[in-house]
C-alpha cells in the first residue's frame, strides 16, 4: 500500500480516536467508582428519590442538603468535586418514618451532589443536583 499524505492523516486520526475510546473507562471519576462499588454496577432508577439542595451556596462550608426516598433501606450521598467523594450514608431502621434526612455538608467547589438510595427490594435509585459554590469549604 502506498502511503499518501491523505491515508496517513486518516490512519492517525483513527488511531487517536481508538486510543481515546479505549482510555475512557480509566477516566471515570472517583464518584462513579464509589457508586459502582456500592451498587455493584446495578442499573440506577430515577424518580423515587428526591434530593433537595440549594442552587447556589454562598459558603461551601455548610450546604443544607435533604434527601428523601420512600421505601429506601439506605441512602448514600456523594459530592463529585470534593477531595473525597463520600459524604455520608444514612441507614434507616425499623422505626424510621419517612425515609428522609437532612444535614449540612461541605463542598469544595461548584459540583454535583449525588444521592444513591438502596431500596428495600435491592434496587437502586439515583438523584443528583448541581450546586454552585461561591466560597469553597475545604479551608485550602
Amino acid at each position: 500500500m502506498q502511503l499518501t499524505r491523505r491515508t496517513m492523516l486518516t490512519l492517525s486520526t483513527a488511531g487517536i480516536a481508538a486510543t481515546a475510546m479505549g482510555a475512557l473507562p480509566a477516566f471515570a471519576s472517583p464518584t462513579d467508582d464509589e457508586i459502582a462499588k456500592l451498587t455493584g454496577g446495578a442499573e440506577l432508577g430515577e424518580g423515587a428519590i428526591t434530593l433537595t439542595a440549594p442552587e447556589i451556596a454562598e459558603n461551601g462550608n455548610t450546604v443544607p442538603i435533604e434527601v428523601s426516598a420512600p421505601g429506601a433501606a439506605s441512602i448514600a450521598l456523594f459530592a463529585d468535586g470534593n477531595p473525597v467523594p463520600n459524604v455520608a450514608t444514612f441507614t434507616f431502621g425499623p422505626l424510621s418514618a419517612s425515609r428522609s434526612a437532612s444535614t449540612r455538608i461541605r463542598l469544595a467547589r461548584t459540583q454535583n451532589v449525588v444521592a444513591i438510595a438502596q431500596m428495600e427490594d435491592g434496587s437502586f435509585q439515583k438523584a443528583s443536583a448541581n450546586v454552585k459554590v461561591t466560597i469553597g469549604g475545604c479551608g485550602g
Binding site: 455548610t62 424510621s96 434526612a101
Partner: protein, 109 residues
C-alpha cells in the same frame, strides 16, 4: 477535643401512638477534615465524628456514617415512628474513640 463537645437534641415531649415525629440533633464538633494545613504547611490530622445512631427502646431509627465532608457541628434532622412511651438514645462516635450519648424520654398517649 472531648471537653467541648456538647450534644443537643430536640424531641417532642408528647405524641400519639404511631405518630411520626421530627427529631433534630446537633453536636458541637469541629469535624477536622484532614485536608487542611496549619500555618507551617503541615497537614492537620483528621478528627471527626464518624458515626451517629438514634434508637428508640432498643430499636434502630437511623444509623449514619459520616465522612469528612460533613460540616462542623454535625446536624441531622429525620423522622421516627413512636409506637409507645419510651426513651430515645442518641449516640455519636468520635475518631478518637470517645462516645457521646444523650437520652430523651417521650410520653405517648
Amino acid at each position: 477535643m472531648a471537653s467541648d463537645v456538647k450534644p443537643r437534641v430536640k424531641v417532642p415531649k408528647t405524641a400519639s401512638a404511631g405518630d411520626t415525629i421530627t427529631i433534630k440533633t446537633l453536636i458541637s464538633h469541629k469535624m477536622e477534615s484532614g485536608q487542611r494545613k496549619d500555618s507551617d504547611g503541615n497537614p492537620i490530622p483528621r478528627s471527626i465524628i464518624n458515626r451517629f445512631t438514634a434508637d428508640f427502646n432498643g430499636q434502630n431509627v437511623i444509623d449514619v456514617k459520616l465522612e469528612p465532608a460533613i460540616s462542623t457541628n454535625p446536624y441531622f434532622q429525620f423522622e421516627a415512628i413512636v409506637p409507645e412511651s419510651g426513651e430515645f438514645t442518641f449516640t455519636w462516635y468520635d475518631d478518637d474513640g470517645s462516645v457521646y450519648d444523650m437520652k430523651k424520654k417521650i410520653e405517648v398517649s
